[in-house]
Symmetry: C2
Subunit: 434 residues, 2 copies
Amino acid sequence: MNIPNSALPRIVIIGGGFAGIAMAKELKNQKVQVVLLDKHNYHTFQPLLYQVATGGLEAGSIAYPIRKVIQEYDNFYFRLTSVQEIDTKNKKIIAEIGELSYDYLVIATGSKTNYFGNKDIKRNSMAMKTIPQSLNIRSLILENFEQAVLTTDVAEKNSLINFVIVGGGPTGVELAGALAEMKKAILQKDYPDLDIAKMEINLIQSGDRILNTMSEKSSLAAEKFLVDLGVTIWKNVRVTNYDGRTITTNSDLIFETATVIWTAGVQGAVVAGLDADSLVEKVERICVNRFSQVKGYEDIFAVGDIASMETEEYPEGHPMMAQPALQQGALLGENIMKLIQNKTMKPFEYNDKGSMATIGRNKAVVDLPRYHFSGVFAWFVWMFVHLFSLIGFKNKAVVFLNWVYNYIRFDREGRLIIRPYKKKSFTAFTSDEV
Amino acid sequence: MNIPNSALPRIVIIGGGFAGIAMAKELKNQKVQVVLLDKHNYHTFQPLLYQVATGGLEAGSIAYPIRKVIQEYDNFYFRLTSVQEIDTKNKKIIAEIGELSYDYLVIATGSKTNYFGNKDIKRNSMAMKTIPQSLNIRSLILENFEQAVLTTDVAEKNSLINFVIVGGGPTGVELAGALAEMKKAILQKDYPDLDIAKMEINLIQSGDRILNTMSEKSSLAAEKFLVDLGVTIWKNVRVTNYDGRTITTNSDLIFETATVIWTAGVQGAVVAGLDADSLVEKVERICVNRFSQVKGYEDIFAVGDIASMETEEYPEGHPMMAQPALQQGALLGENIMKLIQNKTMKPFEYNDKGSMATIGRNKAVVDLPRYHFSGVFAWFVWMFVHLFSLIGFKNKAVVFLNWVYNYIRFDREGRLIIRPYKKKSFTAFTSDEV
């Protein structure tokens, strides 16, 4: 990997997400060599991916160059690569671009979409965990409409403008709300020759309420907001398969649709090479102690979505979202320096600042530890929290400007098919240049 | 194509570039049915493509949804397709998505990169005529740097950070200047483990001055600006081949480089089916009279880059740039209504408002019909003209904000490899997701 040898201990961090970047910031100008690896050259602000998918924001507004984060940091190295395996015996990692030894290894690889082993669903549905995936969804939605305009086959037309989102967590709820607003404010005007009333947005949730990690009050408020926007919510329905045309479920219910967006589950993005008993099977997370040390290792750590730290309050690990990742990453940055200096490490204590979800303009739900509220004020809180969490002044300013514009004009100008998502069944756009 | 039949005459416009959109605006709510076809669902502001390629602007900032332009226009239809052939005998066009008859046909397909028949150059070099192509250049530049960091082979490293731009017209000059600014302000800081002084930017021009369509004063000023920024200009050098590694020229001069950006020529993007003698061979433009009527036809028109209208002042047709396209498109919109109403059409008279090119911060050249100037003031003129030429308030605002930020911070935050450009010789990034 062409990383110079140094007398300083080498910390290798795999992943530049919330946890990896929070940790890197703590290690700024410390007496360590830090090598940060990521398969993208940018940090992604995942909570706003659904706005990229629905044309409200440009991809660049929620991405930030990782090299810019570490520009002023001494002894920091970034390498663009994915990591294939950890060789714990020889204390090295094996990546696409070569091998690298470590003194301390930090796994901050985050999570990926969980299809629960169903290959048909994986092949035929859309995921929304990365920027390229979100841009694919954006292209597909618009390509569907362009195709719907052309066809005279009623069943095909209906299937093309029937959007099914599986999973009633924050991602699914926010995407359903944004699609519903697109329908009303944009698609109706952009496609006057289509009967937009026929466009369906179906949100399928396996449990008996959406946003089931939030308070019941927030769940109910979110449901009402979605229904008001024209989203159909299906509760206690479990999707059993999707062959690219038809969704089957655990009941008689079926959906004929060209577009399934799968937000029904996530699992850890595990790197091979760790002892089997350090893994939590079902969700593929890595067991860590209160110091984020991986079970069975002293020099390997895991933080963020990938890490499952059992505590009394969170017996199955912390929720897989930004806050625990940011807090774990920052603390590990401090702790690893303490470990190097033979000082006592500080056990992790999660400070739950609450959670929130937005459904549409003036419509959000917020759960604070002691207080739950929804509506216009919740929506403003949601906006400001997200705006200030973005890295970089310019991203903040551009996102703010877009939001103000979109709010005033009821518009989303990012409805651009820059890279067509090649649908096998629709060859018209696949032969286009690059 | 599922376009309803109507008693109104049907005008089919192929292409939503400057000419096509200018014409569409003139036809707003006239008593005609208009069908606008384009292979993208957005209008591209081509003069700023080089800023997308160098990470200064996001793609969405210079693209505008075509459906939004025509949202309020009666009897307007947009279809996303490329057109394969014109059947002039049966008055219909044959497109990927089906056939469509026309009463009047307007060819506004613009231009494409001209490789002068050299297939090696076409295969191995990068073009910059569309947004996807510009994003490919952006990705490739950054992928080259990521790869250069890894390699210990000096020749390979030098080849990866040697950028050759062929063609000293406005596109080549602006791109060379932007790359030179990236080198100084960003790449030096982002890649501390590379010797950025070794990064070369070579601009090859076959003639004896760059910007040869502008005044000699502006050519000289631009040359000085580029040289000050560290660009090496090669004049009177003609590239004979590029095999993906080495550029050969008509002299002994060779260049070892992984990246060639070809801006050396354009040619009309001709649609098949017109009489052979209506074409200007070498540049593949379509001969039109002063009313933009294609030679030999009364009901077929061509406007913009694709059209070659011989006049006393422009014996080889107007320059292939935005101004003639905008003016021809707008006039044809008026004229075609006159033709339908049996009124006398107005012959086209080109109003040359001048031309300009920017080289870098505070560095631009402007040729007005009677006055040529360069430097800071020219740069401000360039910025404001381009800003106000963009379609849409939000694009104007976002581009302005980006420019202010980039100017103050000497930065370009769009250095993101969203879609890796798969280099055959560099497999590390090709297996990545979507």
